[in-house]
Every structure is written in structure tokens, then in C-alpha cells.
């Protein structure tokens, strides 16, 4: 039974896809069209009651929220593929900490940039330059903390690539691409080196190829 991942064209599902590739777990994808509101159909809402992407189906088991899904597969397949969790409970604590930082500090301002710069006309709301300005400032402050952290540690949770780093791939990809703010990464020496490292992993390259 192959894992089904819904919504591969969008960023959050790619968090799941890159994790599955790292863990050498087979999957298939099911497209969901946000523009036509497919995520609001009764069938989709039965799987994901918030109407967000992604959701996965693994046989009879359904799971939503990309960070919950990646934690599940990282733990379920701990002994195959890349170890994304860390060896000790303490290492795992640090992975969880930086995954939460991504979710609460990094993601919200970046998500606002993505929504206003990339999706405002498609989703039918007014692009707000004030929101863009404030979001860039907030994200900049977060990246300053990352710069300091990554000057002392090769990856966020320590000397190993983990779920915490992986979780940054899809939306940072937007940031350096269509959002047009690559300088925010490039201007920070250690963040830049870290980004080059994690974004050149074969798993991420594979996901980008798959979803072309």
C-alpha cells in the first residue's frame, strides 16, 4: 500500500514529499486545485476538515498537518534512509525546538510575504505593501538569530541534517525564487551556506523535478 500525498503543487505538501524521499518511502501524489476550491469540496473536507494542504492516506490511516506527518514518518522509518530525528532524546528535543521555531517564528512572516507577493491576485485580495514591509522586517530579525545559531552549529539542531532544516525547504524556495528576496538569505554568510547545503540535497532536487 503506497502513501498518497494530496496537493503536490503547493509548498506544505512538498515538506512531506522531501521527507518521504529522505526516508526512502514510496508514495503517489493526488493533485488538489486551490484556485477552483477543490480543497473546499465535501470529499476533501472529510479528509482534512480545515481545508488545508496536505493530507496523507496510508491504507486506512489519514493524517493532516505537514509537520505531524513528517514527524510520524521520521519515527516510523527511523532505521531506514536518513535519520531526521536525532539519536538521543536530547537531540530529538533540539530537533523539535527548531521545528517549532520554523512553525512559529519563521513561517508566519514568510507566509504573509508569499500570500501577498505571489497569490494576492489569484486568491482575490489586495496586496498590502505595509504587510509586506513588516513581514520582511520580522523575517529579517528571525534570520539574524539563525545567522548566529548557524555560525556555531552546522545545522539547526546540531551537526546533523534533521526535520528542523528540512521543514524550511519549501517556503525558502519561494523566498529566493518568486518572492524575489534572495538577498535576505545571501546577505547572511552562515544562513547562505546552510541554504546552499540543504537545497542541493538530492531529495529536494528530486521533489522539484517531480512537481515541475
Amino acid at each position: 500500500m503506497v502513501v498518497k500525498v494530496y496537493g503536490p503543487d503547493y509548498a506544505s505538501p512538498k515538506r512531506v514529499l522531501v521527507c518521504l524521499v529522505e526516508k526512502e518511502v514510496e508514495f503517489e501524489t493526488v493533485p488538489v486545485n486551490l484556485v477552483t476550491g477543490e480543497n473546499r469540496s465535501p470529499e476533501y473536507l472529510k479528509l482534512q476538515p480545515f481545508g488545508s494542504l496536505p493530507v496523507i492516506q496510508d491504507g486506512d490511516y489519514t493524517l493532516f498537518e505537514s509537520r505531524a506527518i513528517i514527524r510520524y514518518y521520521a519515527e516510523k522509518y527511523k532505521s531506514q534512509g536518513t535519520d531526521l530525528l536525532g539519536k538521543t532524546i536530547e537531540d530529538q528535543g533540539l530537533v523539535q525546538q527548531w521545528l517549532e521555531v520554523e512553525a512559529h517564528n519563521f513561517h508566519p512572516p514568510l507566509n504573509d510575504l508569499v500570500l501577498h507577493i505571489m497569490f494576492s491576485s489569484v486568491l482575490g485580495f489586495t496586496r498590502d505593501e505595509q504587510v509586506i514591509k513588516e513581514s520582511e522586517e520580522k523575517l529579517g530579525k528571525v534570520l539574524d538569530v539563525y545567522e548566529d545559531r548557524l555560525s556555531k552549529s552546522r545545522y539547526l539542531a546540531g551537526d546533523f541534517f534533521s526535520l528542523a532544516d528540512l521543514s524550511h525547504l519549501p517556503f525558502t524556495n519561494y523566498l529566493v525564487g518568486p518572492v524575489g528576496k534572495e538577498y535576505m538569505i545571501k546577505e547572511r554568510k552562515h544562513v547562505s551556506a546552510w541554504w546552499d547545503d540543504i537545497s542541493s540535497r538530492p531529495s529536494w532536487q528530486k521533489v522539484l523535478q517531480l512537481c515541475k
Binding site: 476538515p49 480545515f50 488545508s52 490511516y61 493524517l63 493532516f64 498537518e65 509537520r67 505531524a68 506527518i69 514527524r71 510520524y72 519515527e75 516510523k76 532524546i89 536530547e90 530529538q92 528535543g93 533540539l94 523539535q96 525546538q97 521545528l99 517549532e100 521555531v101 512553525a103 512559529h104 517564528n105 508566519p108 528571525v142 538569530v145 548566529d148 545559531r149
Partner: protein, 220 residues
């Protein structure tokens, strides 16, 4: 093993109280080091060494310093699986993932609007800041949509992740406490039959009552 763990931050902080209730549920002894946000102690160099974003809480035990309340809760649950409330984070990976799913839903969908509402309705007046009426209206509308989903879910299941109280329910305690007890918006929760029932159950747990006592204690 008997050395109490340390939590930094004021118990009035929603994120700090999330960690405190988790420690109480797991019977893990702790000491609380108060950090006065009014005096800016969370932005001082000594504190920034343990929490570089200048946020509360931070957590220390013999092995590690950690921040982010939900990461701390997961760590405590993983480190002490057989202490206190054992099913808090599930006893097998499938159950754990279902709990994690609802913990993420709390974090991504419930927390943003409920935090903003709690700040605008409870803390802004205390801090003598002007309330933003548009922001209140916008976030109330968002919260209502989330509570409708919860109403449905809690009609199928006693708690969010299943038949047992878990981290997923626990994580909702801090913000909901403020909205139900300290604002005139309690009816957002209590007018929904299943959500109301769920709130009554989770908020009457001894662990949460103890945290509320800590929040209401004088000398804050």
C-alpha cells in the same frame, strides 16, 4: 532524576502555562524562575543566551536547555513516558501521530486567532494599549470557523485525538482560559454544545486548576 527541572517565565504567559500544566500532568517536579516582561527581563543578554528570540518560556533539566512550549511538552512526554498521565502523547506511533496532528492544528489554526483575541481583550487594556477593533473582529471570525470544526470533531470523539485527554487538548488550555474566564466572549465556546462540554472537562483537571492558582497568586 530527583533534581527539579527549571522553567523560566511568568505563569500568566500562555506559553509558560502550557509547559507548567504538562509538567504537572506528568508528575515532574519543577521550579519556576519568574521573568518580568514588564521590566524587559526577557530581552536582557543573560536571558537571550538561553532563548535567542527573547520569548518565554525556556526550560532546563540536567541534560538540556530548550525553548518553544510545544517542543518542551513533547520532550517531557518522550522523556517520562511512564510517569503521570501516560497516554498524554500516546502509547504507539499511530496514536502519537493523531495527537500530533491535533497539536499542530492547535498551533497553526487555533493559536493565532485566539492569541490575538486574548491579547486585544485581556492584555491590551491591562497594559493601557488601544484595542484594535478591526483586528478583534477579523480574528473572532477566524476563531469561529475553527470552533465549528472542533464542534464537529468533538461530536465524534470525547477529546480531540480520541477517547483520552492528550497533549492536543492540553495545548488549548492557556488561551481558552483567558477567553472564557476573562472576556465577554465565553459564549464562543460555551454556546457550542460539544466544545462547551470538552472545555468543562479539560479545565477542571487538577493540573489546570493548579496552574490557574499560580496565575492568580499575588506578587506577579
Amino acid at each position: 532524576m530527583a533534581t527539579p527541572v527549571t522553567v523560566y517565565g511568568p505563569p500568566l504567559s500562555t506559553a509558560v502555562s502550557r509547559v507548567l500544566v504538562c509538567l504537572l500532568e506528568k508528575d515532574v517536579p519543577f521550579q519556576l524562575v519568574p521573568i518580568s516582561m514588564a521590566k524587559g527581563e526577557h530581552k536582557k543578554p543573560d536571558y537571550l543566551k538561553i532563548q535567542p528570540f527573547g520569548q518565554v518560556p525556556a526550560f532546563q533539566d540536567d541534560e538540556i536547555t530548550l525553548f518553544e512550549s510545544r517542543a518542551i511538552c513533547r520532550y517531557i512526554a518522550d522523556k517520562y513516558p511512564s510517569k503521570g498521565t501516560m497516554g498524554l502523547f500516546g502509547t504507539n506511533p499511530l496514536v502519537k501521530a493523531s495527537i500530533d496532528q491535533w497539536l499542530e492544528a492547535e498551533s497553526q489554526s487555533f493559536n493565532p486567532p485566539s492569541s490575538i483575541l486574548a491579547f486585544q481583550l485581556v492584555f491590551a487594556p491591562r497594559m493601557k494599549l488601544k484595542q484594535d477593533k478591526a483586528l478583534i473582529k477579523q480574528n473572532e471570525a477566524k476563531l469561529v470557523k475553527v470552533l465549528d470544526i472542533y464542534e464537529n470533531r468533538l461530536g465524534e470523539s470525547r477529546y480531540l485525538a480520541g477517547d483520552e485527554f492528550t497533549l492536543a487538548d492540553l495545548s488549548h488550555l492557556p488561551n481558552t482560559q483567558y477567553l472564557v474566564e476573562k472576556t465577554n466572549r465565553a459564549e464562543l465556546f460555551m454556546s457550542r454544545r460539544n466544545v462547551g462540554r470538552w472545555w468543562d472537562e479539560i479545565s477542571s483537571r487538577p493540573s489546570w486548576k493548579k496552574v490557574v492558582e499560580m496565575q492568580n497568586a499575588p506578587s506577579q
